[in-house]
Amino acid sequence: MFFVLIQSQIGIGLFSLPNVVQEPAKGDGWISIILAGVGIQFLLIIYWFLLKRFPDDEFAQVIQKILGRTLGKILNILIYFHFIITGSLSTILMVKLLNLQLLPITPSWMISFLIISASIYLTISNLKIIAKFFVLAFTLIILLLFLTLFTFSLPQEIQFILPVGHSGIKNILIGSNNALFSMVGFEAILFLFPFIIQKNKGVLKTISLANIFVTGFYTFLVFICLISFSPDQLNQIREPVTYLFRGLSFKTFARVDLIFLSLWVVPMTTTIIAYLFLASKSISNEERSYKKNVVINGIFIFLISLIPHTDEITTQFTKYVTYLSYAVIYVIPVLLLLVSIIYKKHETGETT
């Protein structure tokens, strides 16, 4: 049953952000995403090595075991901070999107309140239940993928992409950098590892598969946006994926983009649920305080999301969150792995 837990990795990584498609690499943005996926794959391998050495410990304990109590505690708090802030950013962006497109007059705090209370409600329960819900949400992604197939009936110009590679390696790499932020969420595996039963059976395979799926999905979406809109247009449109659906209309579904957005609320919420879960887990190890933590963290996120957010503030905020996430996702695990190899710290897990 805990295999389902692996599915949640897809839930998190995929829905980190609603806006995927702003790339400085222009026509080669899709290559950027593939490269980003490859980069993430490397990281996943590093994670796996690290986690294999401490099969049964929660990540918070892992850090403390490797680096000692004080340094470990500091890092733990940093990670906790990262989860809360990323969760808040996700909430803020989601509320903004809903406010802009679907519910302009409804006050933001109301939307935020509804999303967060729903998230708290689900996160409080068992991990198994969360994972099952994520699997359900996955079917929505498949549905949305199906919808995107219809966009092939809109005018498209392959010319926008050709010639391949015309933006130059440097721009493509910058694009990968930006794309990475949309693809974070895979660090959840750090915390989920101890819950997986049957660790030896292809954990790496499953998480790699999840990574490939996410990368492929994003690449596909970016690709469609790139061939449907000219470069000038892409610069102007805020959310190309949503706008893409505006061109579609069927006899019974006039505004496909609104339907898409309404459905997309679920995947976006699963991201918030995931970060709420991670934040609560990273702070405490016992079962008893977990539920309390969830509620408190939820309130934290809610309060942060109440701060008024103009476009400028949001961009700044996003930048800070990105920097912090770099530290947490890249630096810390690599550091930990190196230290643990050098000092030969590891524990063999019980055979199950």
Binding site: I105, M110, E157, Q159, S230, G247
Partner: protein, 358 residues
């Protein structure tokens, strides 16, 4: 209580609304903008019955902004543009560029980006003010355009597609061209050719429009064309439908002179719908193939001459040049050099069906 029911903030009652069906844009004599909108007023007669009334509202302003506010102030209820499915722009105004009129449509979150655009010969509000019993006129025009799209008479264009095309450098498009005949009849006059987002002033007739769509490989299963063959000696006529097209477009740049030639080779398979000349004999398909090919090629050349004059690059030659022959392209000033491009069409016709009789 309101606080606890999400969505209560944003609800819109249908009976409070005034739904705009069609919008027309004209230039006024003083250089301002005149906008007329067809509003559908839904009145509740009680018991779930509704009465739909169609009225014409107009607003005039020096520039585009603020027109919707004027319309709102002259209409009962709140005006809702999300159902506006027809946009008419007068030819004068279109000559100044249509991108500005489209801005509020693709910026707003409520507008119908699947709306159809048409350029009108003469004043757009003339066409919109045509009265028709029982059926709202905007809806009538919409159905007319949709029907024509289905039979390959008009290109399929909506605001969404048009916006992409305007911002696509190197390719131009064309829009339906409507006119008013007699005092209350609206007809499709052909297609209007655009250069960038500006109306060139030149248009193609209905027959030429279908042929152009054929040349662009944008034809639909249903299409009708009629030709008069051999005008000088016999004056025979034929009507046919195209069943299959194979198209090849090749652009070559002469290294020395820098001349650009675009060869378009098309072979089509047709089905004869009407050939009211041979009553006793079978159709001589070989001979007919040759004649129709010659006539179609001749007409294609005429169309291309008009396209070049209008500076309308519907084949996307500039785009192909920029990608495949970037050196030659960078030396050119496309606006002026487009006229010198030689486009050679060659149409090869093969009759595969002749209907129920031979």
């Amino acid at each position: 209580m309101n606080i606890f029911l999400a969505g209560c903030w944003d609800q819109h009652q249908l009976v409070d609304k005034n739904i705009v069906n069609g919008i027309s844009f004209d230039l006024t004599d003083e250089g301002g903008i005149l906008l007329k909108a067809r509003n559908i007023n839904i009145k509740s007669k009680g018991g779930g019955q509704f009465e739909v009334e169609d009225e014409l509202v107009s607003a005039e302003r020096p520039t585009l902004v603020g027109l919707s506010m004027d319309i709102d102030s002259k209409s009962s209820g709140r005006v809702d543009y999300s159902q506006a499915h027809l946009l008419l722009i007068s030819d004068e105004m279109a000559k100044q560029g249509i991108l500005q009129t489209l801005d509020s449509f693709y910026r707003g979150k409520d507008s119908n980006t699947g709306a159809k655009i048409a350029i009108t010969k003469g004043k757009a509000h003339d066409i919109l003010s045509t009265e028709k019993d029982k059926s709202p006129i905007a809806f009538f025009i919409l159905k007319m355009i949709e029907g024509a799209e289905e039979t390959t008479l008009l290109p399929e264009e909506t605001i969404f597609k048009v916006w992409t095309k305007i911002l696509t450098p190197g390719k131009d498009f064309f829009l339906p061209y409507l006119e008013k005949t007699e005092s209350d009849k609206i007809a499709i006059a052909g297609v209007a050719l655009l250069n960038g987002d500006k109306f060139s002033g030149l248009s193609l007739t209905k027959e030429q429009s279908t042929l152009l769509l054929l040349l662009l490989d944008r034809f639909k299963k249903t299409n009708f064309m009629s030709l008069i063959l051999n005008r000088t000696s016999e004056n025979r006529s034929i009507a046919f439908s195209t069943r299959k097209i194979q198209r090849e477009m090749k652009i070559t740049v002469d290294k020395t002179s820098g001349d650009i030639t675009c060869n378009i080779d098309i072979s089509i398979q047709i089905e004869v719908n009407s050939y009211p000349q041979n009553f006793k004999e079978d159709l001589n398909t070989k001979k007919m193939n040759k004649e129709i090919s010659a006539e179609l090629t001749k007409q294609a050349k005429e169309i291309i001459a008009i396209l070049l004059k209008a500076n309308s690059d519907v084949f996307g030659i500039e785009m192909q040049l920029a990608k495949r022959h970037p050196d030659a392209w960078s030396k050119m000033n496309w606006d002026e050099d487009y006229k010198n491009v030689r486009i050679e069409p060659k149409i090869d016709v093969k009759i595969i069906k002749t209907g129920n009789v031979f």
